[in-house]
Amino acid sequence: MSTEHEKIQAELAKYQASVEKAVARFPERDHLPEQRLYTPLDIKDTDYADEISFPGVYPYTRGVQPTMYRGRFWTMRMYAGFSTAEESNKRYRMLIENGATGLSCAFDLPTQIGYDSTDPISEGEVGKVGVAIDSLADMEVLFDQIDLGKVSTSMTINAPASVLLAMYIAVAEKQGVPADQLRGTIQNDILKEYAARGTYIFPPRPSMRLITNIFEYCSKNVPKWNTISISGYHIREAGSTAAQEIAFTIADGIAYCEAAIKAGLKIDDFAGRLSFFWNAHNNVLEEVAKFRASRRIWAKVMKERFHAEKDKSMKLRFHTQTAGSMLTAQQPNNNIVRVALQTAAAVMGGTQSLHTNSRDEALALPTQESVTIALRTQQIVAYESGLADVIDPLAGSYYVEAMTNKIEAEAWDYIKKIDDMGGAVAAIEKGYIQKEIQDSAYKWQMDVESGARTIVGVNKFQMENEEPPKDLLKVDEAVGERQKAKVNELKAKRDNEAVKAALADLKKACQDEQENLMPHILAAVKTYATLGEICNVMREVFGEYEAHVSL
């Protein structure tokens, strides 16, 4: 120990002694973190050059770009979509007019699970949590008057990501935009669907094949496209802790890389197009530490485990969404404040893009007014708060650096445990990851109910006779019928022979494991084969996933 550390140690001992006396008289609040304060002693083993370093420099703890927001702000990307393609198209154009710099498409559940609106299982769900897309025809309407050469589009689509991406490419082609100009992201992260989000279709093996097919196809044809958004967001929403969020997600990332390498790809050919998706929770400093730790872990994984050589492969770029599960139905305007804090965390954590939730989302889909406030929140943080003016402003905080180390260590423990089980796929099939998440979720709920954790307006500072909020967004119940009619109309007027041929060709391709499915899907999409028809062909060959549930 250096003499300086010894001096601090001595002072710290004195301080602690005085605090003990004070605490005897004035006890501290209950349920606080164990350590009262942090000092240089807590980070004395952290080597600045190796572990923290500089922005844009390995291990990227301080950010992936050298100038971060001093160059330009993060992409303010608002997740939106509901009802029909026409309605959503209007919302997208409103957002662009209001200064949103990227689009983010929400699809309804039938679309996410590869069912047409006409399928009986879609009953009641069409257009509810996002826009219903049944075929290329809907996609053409969705992006009507939006120049796909200029906008960057993120699509929250997983199991049928290949099909929606193909539709996007086809729309661009009609607009005269070549595929190599397209920018955007598909979520395409099936592992977290099994573990936390639930919109899976096929079993892991064919799903991993679809994903690596997309990696390969895009590396050649759509090089600016982010082929996957490896998502911790939903894992956190399902109830995980911050460390579990990044640990399970990075374990998923490792599984994708291994699958791609096994399929013959080179790490540096696809790793630069991998992106991540994190949650921004309420505990601002813990979240900042989490974002920083995630970058450091991924950089090490890429360099040490996969021997990546390109810097780009080692940079963890991420989108952030504020935590939906932290929004309260009670006193919904308080959510504006929560979202502001979460935004601050994401920005100080160095996010590349951000979606801010709207105050009314614990009650329904957001209204236009709420969405505007949520977007304004980002703009206020960007332009007024000063948080974006200095790079990684919390670096060097004894607490934040110690917390970054702690979360990193916890995450590594999980990653090693998952490695020992045979990787993320095996751990999910065993139900291990699901069980860990559920245990955390249950603990959280019990903490709230016991009062160990306070949620303002929910278990403290409640209001009697709170007026229910008015003017919530209502999705027109007739959407389902309208969408059904559209599908039937389409089926009557398209070239059904061409559809049949394309689907037969796709089926053959599915049966040949060596074949890349993307060109076949693209061809099918262009005949106006529906999403359901295409997915059913794959269901026939691949089968369906059966969830592992244990409580």
């Binding site: 059966e546 244990s550 409580l551």
Partner: protein
């Protein structure tokens, strides 16, 4: 609703209510069972047991589907442990059989062990009878094979399948030792995992050592239930076992022994309840206990005189 009558007419809600009556020990349960009894004895009962995580529910699901393909109707009694601390239970087997829910030829009922000592096997046996009377061809009783009460449950089966999976380490030794004698068949699930062949060798070794071995040597079948692999092979061995015990009279012997055990069980619990009711209600029990405590008498003498008095 007249539960027994409706059940015999094929009313599924009546079957469900009958099992509730059995499970909750409603007074009417005895009457229901009396009416159902003449209609039982037709179903073949398959017991499935093994350690937690062996994939028993998935296997049960696939077996049921296979029987359905053969045109047979299936009843399933799935037993899950009740928490000894809260008395609650998550009955989680059904979730792996969701695909069977809307098949009218299948009826699935989940039961918690409810911490009852011995009573559980009696209840599951009656639930099986209710399904039997309802007309199910095959009844599968699925339970975790770790405790004595669970082992008792599968003893009620005509053929018992013990399910194991590779790579369970040392835990498996104890479990295997405990359930060795009850397995008519062994099934290695998840046999695509490493260690499946090793497990087969271990079981074979144990079977070699088994001195009680009759001329039936339990076959070992490898399956991957989640992929539906090996299920028809497994059912072929079930068929073989059935054939074997039918031909050599063991099936009749087993069922006779079961009836005898059941009879004694009912007798014991009824007499016990009757006597207990009388001496508790009259306050005599407390008086006896006090005397015994003071060593003025002993439990054996007291019981002797109570029996003499009440069972005259």
């Amino acid at each position: 609703m007249n539960i027994a009558e409706e059940l015999l007419k094929g009313n599924r809600l009546a079957l469900s209510r009958a099992i509730t009556a059995i499970e909750n020990e409603y007074d009417e349960a005895t009457d229901i069972m009396k009416k159902l009894y003449p209609h039982t004895g037709h179903a073949y009962v398959l017991g499935i047991t093994g350690p937690p995580g062996a994939g028993k529910s998935t296997l049960t699901d696939k077996i049921a589907r296979e029987y359905r393909k053969q045109g047979k109707t299936v009843g399933i009694v799935a037993v899950d442990p009740t928490s000894p601390f809260t008395g609650g239970a998550i009955l989680g087997d059904r979730i792996r059989m969701n695909g069977l829910t809307l098949d009218e030829g299948v009826f699935i009922r989940s039961m918690g062990t409810r911490g009852s000592l011995g009573g559980l096997s009696h209840k599951t046996a009656d639930a099986v009878k209710a399904m039997d009377a309802f007309g199910k061809d095959i009844i599968i009783v699925e339970t975790v094979g770790v405790g004595q009460s669970e082992v008792d449950i599968v003893k009620a089966a005509d053929t018992t399948v013990v399910v194991l999976i590779p790579g369970m380490g040392d835990d498996i030794q104890a479990i295997k030792a405990g359930i060795l004698e009850i397995g008519d068949l062994y099934c290695i699930n998840k046999s695509d995992l490493d260690g499946a062949d090793k497990l087969v060798r271990e079981i074979n070794m144990m079977l070699d050592l088994d001195s009680f071995m009759t001329d039936w040597r339990p076959p070992i079948t490898k399956v991957v239930a989640s992929q539906n692999e090996g299920i028809s092979d497994l059912l072929a061995t079930v068929e073989k076992h059935r054939d074997y015990i039918e031909k050599n009279g063991q099936l009749t012997a087993r069922r006779t022994k079961r009836t005898r055990d059941e009879m004694l069980d009912i007798l014991r619990s009824n007499i016990g309840a009757y006597i207990k009711g009388r001496i508790v209600d009259s306050g005599r029990l407390d008086a006896y206990v006090e005397k015994i405590r003071k060593r003025e008498t002993d439990p054996y003498t007291v019981v002797g005189s109570v029996m003499k008095e009440m069972l005259r």
